[in-house]
Symmetry: C2
Subunit: 317 residues, 2 copies
């Protein structure tokens, strides 16, 4: 486990694990740019989830992975990096993107897959008792391969992206039959189902296998659909000038969502609904900085205050 791991921060240590990518990001926003940013689905997820519950990370990096990225990740007391697979002769996954004035829109400038085209990272034996499993965005065949490596799993939730919907549809279909939940954004849900409307898309996704689906709508909030009903949350209100970098907001939502469920050791519908608020508030912090800068200095009291503000803002009736 990471040198800084200090489980005494938590009441108990429910086993939460994330598999996914670690990336070296280059990000252009309308007002700024940053190179060599620590990113990737697993990094963002872990940083967010660890605010609520310890989290184990399974991901591969190359020989070019900066030592300060390792230090950053290790600096999160709740993140265990024993599952970080360093490959000296390989290159780390790298991604470059540019956001438009409407920060809901971005274009990918480049993708260097690096270690992602190699064998998936091995799951450490000590992680086999993980109960809450998040399969961060990567090829669905790789996600599928992870599932049986967690025989103690109680809840398996996956993310995916438009690329896999287009290029790995059969693997994705197989994955959906094996997971309890799917977290996707609205455009991905639309591509996967043919329905632009988030409610219609969510229903169709439930038909494809998962017991629940969360459709994220960026600044418009998120919809949870499960077999017994649904739940709605608005986004935490943010003005565009407050958005420093939206990268990783979705993974941070997932981290807050799963971190809450793991902390509560619950998977019922009421818990899923509450988890939506935790995900929403976590995402609102993530976009206040490039990379994990904001998450590194997030205090529990700050999080609680914003969560409480959010509950007041979004009170209905």
């Amino acid at each position: 486990m990471g040198a800084q791991f200090s489980p005494q921060r938590y009441d108990h240590d429910v086993k939460l694990v994330v598999t996914g990518t670690i990336g070296i990001d280059t990000v252009y926003t309308p007002r700024d740019k940053r190179e060599g940013v620590l990113g990737g689905s697993a990094a963002y997820f872990a940083a967010a989830a660890s605010q609520l519950n310890p989290v184990r990370l399974v991901a591969a990096v190359g020989g070019d992975w900066p030592s300060d990225h390792r230090e950053t990740l290790s600096s999160f007391p709740g993140v265990c990096i024993a599952g970080l697979d360093a490959r000296p002769l390989s290159r780390t996954f790298a991604w470059g993107g540019r956001y438009f004035e409407d920060v809901n829109r971005r274009e990918t400038l480049f993708t260097e897959v690096g270690v992602l085209q190699e064998a998936p990272p091995p799951v450490p034996a000590a992680y086999r008792d993980s109960e809450f499993v998040f399969l961060g965005n990567t090829h669905p065949a790789v996600q599928l391969g992870f599932i049986d490596q967690f025989p103690a799993r109680k809840l398996v939730v996956a993310d995916t992206m438009d690329l896999w919907i287009r290029t790995a549809h059969s693997e994705l279909t197989a994955l959906l039959k094996r997971v309890d939940g799917l977290i996707v954004n609205d455009s991905e849900a639309g591509e996967l189902t043919g329905f632009r409307n988030a409610i219609s898309a969510g229903k169709k996704i439930l038909d494809m296998g998962p017991s629940f689906v969360v459709v994220k709508k960026g600044e418009h909030g998120a919809v949870l659909m499960h077999r017994g009903g649904m739940a709605l949350v608005p986004a935490f209100p943010v003005e565009e000038h407050q958005v420093v970098d939206p990268t990783g907001a979705g993974d941070s939502f997932a981290g807050g969502f799963m971190g809450y469920l793991a902390r509560e050791e619950r998977t019922d519908a009421a818990a899923l609904q509450s988890a939506m608020a935790y995900g929403t508030v976590m995402a609102s912090f993530a976009l206040e900085s490039f990379g994990l800068d904001r998450m590194r200095i997030l205090r529990a009291a700050e999080f609680q205050q914003r969560l409480s503000d959010f509950q007041q803002l979004a009170r209905v009736g």
Copy 2:
């Protein structure tokens, strides 16, 4: 007052009035079309508000106004049509529009202004004690002219549209300094302020005069901003195939919003926040039919049930 007016439905009779348009609409949706539909901002508002509180209507119609439209409007027990100004030699305002597959988008096919280019309808003397005033969408100079005709006013709220933002900006600016609240949709808020983001736009509108503003985002809900804070509601979840005709959903939102405030005789921030849910649920019924068909048969128990469902769906934390 209208023949069917029966104030015994209500605990008390706070004076609520709406000024605006009565229209003869032609509506094309992706799956249907309808001609000669009773529409207009005042009609939709009144039908919705009357579900919660009696409402007085001030609007003009021409000699071509169908008698069955009068019967329909009169059939709402809470709508007083004493302020309906019938002009035999004029023509009723007529509007034609077509909705796209994405029902959030529409195009105007034609507009025949008719009575709208004549003098505004007179306010009956019996309406001068109105306390809650909604200025439905029409030229801002006309809206402005109505304000002083309600000397007992406690709350004045206006709607507007893109046309007036472009062609009557100075009159609209003057109007904003005289109203307590503005209800607009997100594209209108963007045009008025230059901010695409609803929070940023809402803040700017508060600087222009009103004490509060509601920015409606269609299927994405609505944002209330006032000097003491803000509130957020998602939309009631609706699939596209459930949307028969979105025309008038915004006016129905306003009707539910103002009807609630009038019924409660409150204008404080907590009441405004609650009113958002009433507006949201009222709008969700309005789009289930062409014209006022759904509103005509809406039962109080149905409304309460959906409101209760909505509160459960949108519970946060």
